[in-house]
Each structure stands twice: as structure tokens, then as C-alpha cells.
């Protein structure tokens, strides 16, 4: 992999290339954007490009001696062949550190940060830069965040800290203000469609369209084979709830939590269809018939009220709600709000 193979993040990649080209590499960066759109990949490739020793890469050591002067943006990329690039790929480059949440709480703790600070305090072993990638940086716990502040502001020379997060808003403002923020955006739908068509080859165009919309522009999600199956199952449960089923249909906690996200999508479709009666606004266009059916029995006001109720339940899921009770309550709400007409 190299920069040229990263899909749909031209803006971010161009900023990074610009940093390299102008030799203005900030010591701390924050890669922010939804889950599954290529932040980690970009960070690793940035590390590769910085330390690449091949001809294709940026070689600041010799760049200035070339006749042409500074290399232009097109040139800056990892060669993907030199020892440095291969080592980074195999996660054994001595100057590239990746930290991710570990342990029971799934947090990044002070000891991890201390270890990182220590390794950063040495000179680079073989590369030009020491690159530390902190994945899921929003999982830095309170004390770790604070312990990290000084390093983040004034790290040892020739080190670069890359923080990756899908929830930048939950991080400390003091951390955010010390980093250069690089925003990653979801992929445009038509680009996704093309990509998916290539990958799915045999399957029809309808599926790729559905997947690209369903995944919300997150390629990582769209490549998940089971996405459509998951969606179908969620709708099945949704309809079971409207029926007479009393027994909890979720397999486990995880599914329950996910279902509420799916439920929001279904309600969105139902509400949108109710308000506009236009099928082209639907996410699940293939389920138009069923959605129309549900719409008939419900008032828009109730659908929206229900959406808010589901949101409230979803927020309480963290408090260890009983699954069976949650199911019954949700089913009851669904029946109450969607089962009646204008009342």
C-alpha cells in the first residue's frame, strides 16, 4: 500500500503530501473522521512515506540536490519496496510505534503513554522520523490524556505523533488544540458504487448502490459481507416487534445495541416516506412495499416521537439494561406509536 492506493481521501492525503513537500511536518496531528474510512491506513502510509528510502519516496536528504529542486506533490509517496516500507508493513519498523487501547477497559493508560514517551526520547534508529500512531485516541483515559499533554506540545525532535479518532468531540480540548486536525470525510456515493461494483463483480448494480448508501460512505463497512444480512435481520426484528412476539429476539447484547442504530434507519425511512411519499428518498428502496405498509397505520408525529424514544433508550443501554425488558418495552412503544392511525 502507498498513498496512491488510498481511496477517496484525496484531501487529507494532499495535505499530508503538502507537509512533506514543504518540509513543514507538524509534530502532532489528529486524524478525525468516521469509523472505517481509511484513517489508520493513511497514518501508516504517511509513516512509510516519511521514512521511505526508495527512489519513489521523499528523500529529503537528497531531494535538495536534484536538479529540479523540491519534488512535486506527485512524487511524494512510499516506494513500497525498500526495507523501511516493508518493515512498516509488517509492523516491525523500530521507529514506528502503534498504540491502541488494551486491557479490560479498552483504554489507553498512563503506563502505555510513559512507555511511548520513553521510546520517543531516543534518536530514530534507522529512519528519519519516529512516528507514533495512537489509534482510537478517544480512549485515552483522563490521566493518560493529561500525562500526554506535555509530550504532545513539545515532543523530542524528529518525532511525529498521529492521533486517530472517530469521536474527536469526546477528547480533551487541551489535546485537540495541540494537534493539527486533519478531517477525513465519508466517501462520495458514486465512487463507492464504482469500487463496490469492481469488487463484487458478479453481483448486480443494485446491491452496490444499496451497500454504498447503507454504509454511509464508510468503505470499511461496505466491504463487510454481512451488512445486508444484518439489515434484513434488523427489519425482521422490527416487524416482529410490531406483531405479537413477546420473546426477546436479540441474540446478544451486541446485537441489541446495533439494532437501535438500524432501528433509527428504519424509522428514518418510514418518516421520510410518510412526509413525502417519495421512494427515491428511501435508503432501503428495495423494501419500499413494507415501508409503505407500516406508514399507513401511523402518524408522522408518532413516528418522530418514537424515534426520539428509541434514541433515549439507546443512550441508556450503557447502564446495563435488561435485554428482555428492553425488548418488551421497545416492542410496546413500536406497537403503540406505529399501530394506530392519527390518534
Amino acid at each position: 500500500m502507498a498513498f496512491r492506493e488510498i481511496i477517496g481521501q484525496e484531501k487529507a492525503v494532499n495535505i499530508l503530501k503538502g507537509c512533506i513537500r514543504r518540509n513543514r511536518i507538524p509534530h502532532a496531528m489528529l486524524f478525525a473522521g468516521d469509523e472505517g474510512i481509511g484513517k489508520r491506513l493513511t497514518a501508516l502510509n504517511f509513516a512509510k512515506a516519511l521514512n521511505c528510502r526508495g527512489t519513489g519516496g521523499v528523500d529529503l536528504f537528497f531531494a535538495d540536490m536534484k536538479e529540479s529542486g523540491a519534488p512535486d506533490a506527485g512524487d511524494i509517496d512510499a516506494c513500497d519496496r525498500c526495507p523501511s516500507c516493508t518493515k512498516t508493513d509488517r509492523a516491525c519498523h523500530p521507529d514506528v510505534f502503534v498504540i491502541r487501547p488494551e486491557g479490560d477497559g479498552g483504554q489507553i493508560t498512563v503506563p502505555a503513554i510513559r512507555r511511548l514517551e520513553e521510546s520517543l526520547s531516543y534518536k530514530p534508529f534507522e529512519g528519519r522520523w519516529k512516528v507514533a500512531i495512537i489509534d482510537n485516541a478517544d480512549r485515552l483515559n483522563q490521566s493518560a490524556s493529561n500525562a500526554f499533554l506535555q509530550t504532545l506540545e513539545e515532543p523530542a525532535p524528529r518525532s511525529i505523533l498521529i492521533l486517530i479518532t472517530s469521536r474527536p468531540d469526546v477528547m480533551l480540548a487541551t489535546i485537540r488544540s495541540r494537534c493539527q486536525r486533519i478531517n477525513f470525510t465519508p466517501l462520495p456515493v458514486n465512487l463507492m458504487q464504482e469500487l463496490l461494483k469492481e469488487r463484487l463483480e458478479k453481483s448486480d448494480g443494485g446491491k452496490s448502490t444499496l451497500l454504498s448508501v447503507l454504509s454511509g460512505g464508510r468503505l470499511g463497512h461496505a466491504l463487510d459481507e454481512s451488512l445486508i444480512a444484518q439489515r434484513d435481520r434488523s427489519f425482521e426484528i422490527f416487524r416482529k416487534m410490531l406483531g405479537r412476539l413477546e420473546e426477546d429476539a436479540w441474540d446478544d447484547r451486541d446485537e441489541m445495541e446495533k439494532w437501535f442504530d438500524w432501528g433509527e434507519m428504519w424509522l428514518r425511512d418510514i418518516a421520510v416516506f410518510k412526509a413525502t411519499a417519495r421512494a427515491d428518498f428511501l435508503i432501503n428502496r428495495d423494501r419500499e412495499h413494507e415501508i409503505r405498509e407500516i406508514c399507513r397505520g401511523a402518524a408522522l408525529k408518532d413516528i418522530l416521537k418514537l424515534a426520539r424514544e428509541l434514541y433515549n433508550i439507546k443512550r441508556k443501554l450503557d447502564f446495563n439494561l435488561n435485554r428482555q425488558l428492553t425488548f418488551n418495552y421497545t416492542a410496546m412503544l413500536l406497537k403503540k406509536m406505529l399501530g394506530r392511525r392519527n390518534n
Binding site: S143, T185, G216, M265, A271, A277, G297, L304
Partner: protein
Amino acid sequence: MPQDYLKAWLLNIMSYIVLARKWRPRGFDDLVGQEPVARTLRNALASEKVAHAYLFSGPRGVGKTSSARILAKALNCEQAAGGDPCGECRSCRAITDGASVDVFEIDGASNNSVEAVRELRETVKYAPSGGRYRIYIIDEVHMLSTSAFNALLKTLEEPPPHVVFIFATTEPKKIPSTILSRCQHYSFRRITRAMIREQLEKIAAAEKIRITEGALQMISKAADGSMRDALTLLDQACSFTDDITEKELRGLLGLPEAEIITGLSRNILTGNIPDTLSLIKELTDRGSDLRQLTRELVEYFRNIAVVKVTRNPEELLEFSAEEVQGLRELASDAGIEELTLLLSELLRLEGEVRSAANPRYTLELGLLRMSFVKGMTSIGSILQMLGDSGGAPVEKKTEVREHAEPAAKPDIRDKEGIWRQLIEKVDAEDHLLACKLMEARPLELTASELAIGFNGGMTVLADFIKSKASVINTALQEISGHSLRLKILSLPGEKAGKDNRKIKEEVFSEPLVREALKIFSGSLIKIKSLE
């Protein structure tokens, strides 16, 4: 080629330093937007009234740590003039390089234990080796543990004469009051937009960065009161492009174009659902950041509200007359009650969207919800309507249009069939009700009524069924295709006669009464007969 090698070597070792570090204030004069603090400190230094403990608090990136370093330099400077450090003497240079033996900069978050504080106390008693003071700067001091704070209390109250403590924190609330009362507390303020802009302009000129006026404004706004944020943004912008313009910056910050926000706001204010939805669809298709969009939308509506209630919004909003004119146009159609409602709904939505798994669904549901606000009538206009004697209240027909699906109309004339279907239908919604209905049997079917009756003792169920009349009537309507009511008759053997409940039922079935109940969303409490 030795020269070339030298050049390459230099390039390699000269690490680029970000603007925020390069332009750290070096003297009290460089501190932007903290004049009161700078003046107080400078006067204290000039009159040699130095306290032994200082606490600097304020939001991120306003100059706390920088001030602490300046103060440390000024205290130990060999040739200080009027409270300002010279920046050139041995001591000043040592502090700048972080090599001074008398100035300790401690990261409070990493050294937050009692042990760390005890070690610090051990060193406090030694006299300074070069300068006049031993200075301890503790950054992020709010992270010290309670016991660490307490271990510090004694030393902090009566330190040796050559010791000065400087604490810096973003969260003064987390500091025990016993510590607070032993320090001179300086609150650093957020830096105003104008000041940030001015400083940015200065730095841009010195760094030879080409930047447009609009882009400067945009950075100073996005910095949200923090100089470091502003410089970080400027830094990023210049590593991205040579000429920084508003357009480039919008892309960099992930901000939507101004026209999109205006268009969306107009759609929301006019209650145009299809256009709103297609706009969101278009944005999603392009891969825009909807969370950022929501944030911008909140601000825009706030601006509309401000324009609505103030006479000279230009002063409050720092906007051009043209932009204000645009806002005013949008504001003219909406009442202030409506705007407030929309704004509060949006604020709530912003929080929801921020944490949503898929922001699009949440945003769209929220926007649909907001379209209801449009249909509300303000109390003011209701009072006005009531005041117009004789004038019939004009119904405000701005309700959200619902496209009712024409119900299929199977023309079933046999009562048994309808009854069976009704039970099935009700069963799907309310199992309990269906069970009760099964006890009854259909007696008569007319154009507008389906009469049922109960056997003997089962009449108690009738009350329950009546209370669920709405469910049944809806189901009946769907089955038969026209409005059909359920009537519960008493079977022979039951006491006939008009009891109160019966009258109530009759009154309730009166269309006029029902309409009245619906309009006022009231309920039937008492029935009085007109003799």
C-alpha cells in the same frame, strides 16, 4: 560537492518547528489579549513584590505556560528592566533552551503522586545555583492527586525565601481551596477574535505567508478564543497551499459552503421537506461532514434569532451589512417564538448528531421534527385572533402534509367476515383486546355501525372494549374502507334502560361533540341534560 552535503545535512537536522511553538511569547509585550495579567505581573516585578506562589488558569492556548516561563525568566534575569526579561542574558537563554538549573518545569499530570511531591520538597531547601530564585513551574496542576496536593500545602504556605511556585491549569475548579487560598490566582481570558486576527496578520507578514482577509477572519473565528488553535490552523493551511484563501480554508476545515447553509435554513423556515431532504441526500452523496453542517446550522439560526431581536446586529455579529441583510430576510417571515423553538430543537439535534452512529439518519429525523414547529401558532397571534371580536379564527394551514395512502376497499358486506377480520387485525396490535372481543358476537351490520353483543356475564368486558374504541374503529375503517363504528348492544336478558354510561356513549357518538373534543383535545367529563 562538500557544500551540498553540508546543506543536506543541515536540512536533515533542522527540524521544522510549528508556528505555535516558534511564536511563543518571549516577553510580557508579546502576550496577546492578557493585558491585565501582564500589567499586574510586570508591576509586581518592578516593585519587587513577588509572591511565592502563583496560579494561572484559563482555557487552552491563551498563554498560561508561556506566561509562567516569562515570569520565570523575569525573576532570574540578570539585567531585567522594569519587570521585563531581557531575553539575552545567560539565565534567560538557559530558560529558553530548557537548560536552566534553577527553573524546574514539571508536568503535573505525569508527576502527580505524593512521592513526586516529596522529592520536590527535598530539593526546595537548596539555594539557587546561579540566579536569584529557584522556580518550580507545575503545568496541568489539576492532575495532582489529593494527597499530593495536601503534601504540598506546608511548603506552599511558607516556602524558603528563594522559592517561587507557578501553577498552570485549565481546570481551576479541580484544585483544592486550601491550595487556591495560598496562591495568587490569575485568570486568563479567551482572546477576542479581533486580537487573534491582528496577531495572525503580524505573524503571516513575518513568515511571508500569503493569506486573504476573509481567510484570516475565518481562522480567528474557528480558533474559538485560543491563540494556539489559530496558529495550528494557519500552520496547516500553509502546509497545504501557497496562497491561503477562504475557499481552500473551507475545504481544510471541512466547513460547508455558505450557500448550502443559507439554502437549508430557508427550507427549514418555509417547511419545505422534500427540498430539505434532497439537499441532505446531495451532501451525503458528496461525502460531506454532516456533523459540521449541523454545528454551522445551529450558529446560523442563532444569528437569525439575534438579527430578529436586536436593532444593530452588525455590532454583535461581526458581520457585513450584506450578510446581515440576508439574515434579516430570513428572519422576517418567522416569529421569535418559532425561532427560539427551532434553535432549541437544533441544539438538541446537534448533540444527538454528534454521537450518532450514522449522522444522516439522526439529522433527517431531526429536521422532520423541526418542520412541525412551523405549523405552530404563536400565543401572540392566538391572543390577537381572540381579540378580534366577530372575526372567526383563521385556521393556520401550515401543517405537515401527510400523504395518506388510499386504503384498499374490499367491499365485504357480511358481518361475520368483517368481525373475523377485525379480530385478526386487532390481535396484531393488542392481543388482550382481541381476546375480549372474541367473547362477543356480531349482531347487526349497517352502513355506519357494527353492532355486537355479549352473553350474560361477559358484559363487564364492554367497558374495556369501549375504552379501546379508537383502536377498533381504526381497524374497522381499514377493513371496510369507510367509517364504521362499533356499537355494543345488550343482549336479551340484560337490564335495558338508559343508564348514565349509555347516555355518555350516545353523546360521544355525536359528530359535533367529537369534533369539539378533537379540536380542544379534551375529554368528556359530565353530561347534563337540557330539560
